[in-house]
């Protein structure tokens, strides 16, 4: 029997992994279709970073899983975790599974998420779990770049042409409802926080808001303020979009089970 505390920690790690993988997957849909070659390369870079982070977290979750429930007939790996769980077991937030939309929507999604992930990893470096602290430290370097790149684009589009400004407003309308969830702790996050393995989201909230406000001001975009918020992704209650993502992502592993690739 796996102990409750290991279970919570594994869920916490899977949540971090799923966020990174799903956003990495979404961004990878741009590869070959970007608005200009340099940005095609940039968004692919971010996608690669996020998938890499996801892999680090999955590998760690797999290790803990195998240690806590030794089952010789089934060993967890990064791939079983990414490819063989179904939608209700995925713990990513709703924001990262939203469709790419236009470049404005992709940029805004990246910015809102990177701002969150930046402060998250900054705190997670202090985790008393050494592996998590190490992954956070390594990933923070990458996310620092993601945040800078996406901030610059938010400003460029917000303060660019009237069309780009309007498209940013539309993107805010589309995505703002998914921002609240980032900073509302799920049960495993509360638990991880109490054991000092995870991060206290209440510390993150003011930092995230300040960052987003600053960039919105520079981008001449209005602060959306309090709006109704959709939540549930972190607890496995997703939008319909995730089902289609998984259908593609998991296609090969489902169609040809048990193969090496």
């Amino acid at each position: 029997m796996r102990s409750q505390s290991t279970n919570h920690l594994i869920n916490y790690i899977l949540h971090l992994a799923d966020d990174s993988l799903i956003l990495g997957h979404r961004n990878s849909e741009w590869c070959g279709h970007g608005p200009v070659l340099e940005q095609d390369i940039a968004i692919t870079n971010i996608s690669l970073d996020l998938i890499g982070q996801g892999r680090n977290f999955y590998q760690y979750a797999a290790k803990l899983t195998n240690e806590s429930t030794p089952d010789p007939s089934f060993a967890a790996t990064e791939d079983t975790l990414a490819y063989l769980r179904d939608i209700r077991q995925f713990k990513n937030c709703l924001l990262v599974e939203q469709p790419n939309g236009d470049w404005a929507q992709t940029i805004l999604r990246q910015f809102l998420f990177s701002a969150y992930q930046f402060y998250l990893y900054q705190q997670l470096q202090n985790s008393n779990d050494e592996t998590l602290a190490a992954i956070a430290e390594k990933s923070l370097k990458e996310v620092t770049y993601h945040l800078r790149w996406s901030s610059e684009w938010v400003i460029r589009l917000g303060d660019g042409t009237s069309e780009s400004h309007q498209r940013m407003l539309n993107a805010i309308d589309e995505l703002w409802v998914y921002t609240g969830e980032l900073l509302i702790a799920a049960s495993y996050e509360l638990r991880a926080m109490s054991t000092q393995q995870g991060v206290d989201l209440t510390i993150l909230k003011p930092k995230w808001e300040e960052k987003v406000k600053d960039i919105f001001v520079e981008a001449t975009l209005p602060w959306p303020g309090e709006r109704f918020q959709q939540i549930g992704g972190k607890e496995g209650k997703h939008s319909e979009h995730l089902g289609y993502i998984l259908a593609e992502l998991q296609y090969m592993q489902r169609a040809y089970p048990g193969c090496e690739w």
Binding site: C31, G32, H33, I41, T44, L48, I51, W103, C259
Partner: protein
């Protein structure tokens, strides 16, 4: 100096293996020929992202996904170097891209074939990047400096791509029955189109003599194709798969493999736009460009504003 004198100096440099640089005098036909070739090469890199990009979201493992994504990104980088090399010849990237979209400029026909299974990603890396390498290694010695230097950077990455592709197939070739079938099927479908990548026979090639004299090309299409066949015919043994050519035979006397005749009717059909994916590839490129129009405009408008503001400050 007379044009004849300039031409003499120019050909003298070429004969002495001195690279031609963008500011040097060059015959207009040399410039045009390079613009055509380098831009076509750039377009091939970019359009080439599409068939493989098609499998990024479906790659069978996280490791494969990351490798494929990085590979396709490399191709974008190659396109970027090559568009820059084209710009040194006096054509903007925008003009070059417009020629692609209007159908005036060509790209490698191989990318007009569909990627149907995961094994196709292996076959493309092994065969298509493999064929590209032979051509590009030759081009590291091409007479135009910026093109040659771009090729040096690109070749390093291409050999990675080929190894990764081969490795995908190697895993399949030792896998389940379905995986083995998938592997052989992909080789069967990609083999002939890969041979077509080297272009028509030398006797049919319109620019051949001039390209050789100017050392834009340094080996003929048929010579490169033979090198490719000799290389792949050996490597396929490691996979324990076969190449779909009953005439493929080692000839002790020549030290090369004999191989069957390419279906040239298919070749010209695909060149003319009748391949399985010509429309779809070009449409994807046009759409990306059109959808990105407002983004490029916004970026331009913003940098203008910044310039004005910093001048006012």
């Amino acid at each position: 100096m007379s044009v004849q004198d300039l031409e003499k100096i120019f050909q003298g440099k070429i004969d002495d293996e001195i690279k031609i640089e963008p500011k040097d005098w060059m015959p207009e036909k040399y410039r045009q020929s390079l613009i055509r070739q380098v831009s076509q090469h750039a377009h091939s890199e970019i359009v080439g992202m599409l068939p493989e990009g098609n499998w990024i979201t479906r790659a069978p493992s996280l490791k494969r996904k990351a490798i494929l994504l990085a590979k396709v990104q490399d191709e974008a980088g190659h396109g970027l170097y090559l568009y820059s090399a084209t710009e040194t010849l006096g054509v903007t990237r925008e003009q070059t891209i417009n020629d692609l979209h209007s159908g005036k400029a060509k790209y490698s026909s191989i990318f007009n074939y569909p990627t149907l299974t995961w094994a196709d990603i292996g076959a493309i890396g092994w065969l298509v990047d493999g064929a590209a390498i032979l051509n590009q290694v030759m081009l590291t010695r091409t007479s135009f400096g910026p093109y040659a230097r771009a090729m040096v950077r690109i070749c390093k990455e291409e050999s990675f791509h080929q190894r990764q592709g081969f490795e995908i197939l190697l895993v399949l070739s030792t896998g389940s029955k379905e995986q083995k079938e998938m592997c052989q099927d992909a080789i069967n479908r990609w083999w002939w189109p890969s041979l077509m990548m080297f272009g028509p026979h030398d006797s049919e090639s319109t620019h051949f003599d001039q390209s050789m004299k100017w050392k834009i090309k340094r080996k003929s299409n048929d010579e490169l194709r033979q090198n490719f066949v000799d290389m792949i015919a050996e490597q396929v043994k490691v996979l324990r798969m076969t190449l779909p050519d009953p005439e493929l035979k080692w000839k002790e006397k020549t030290g090369h493999y004999d191989f069957g005749e390419i279906n040239w009717e298919e070749f010209w059909n695909v060149v003319k736009g009748n391949g399985p994916c010509n429309r779809q590839r070009l449409e994807a490129r046009r759409k990306a460009w059109q959808d990105g129009q407002w983004v490029r405009e916004a970026a331009g408008a913003y940098s203008e504003k910044r310039k004005v503001r910093s001048q006012a400050a």
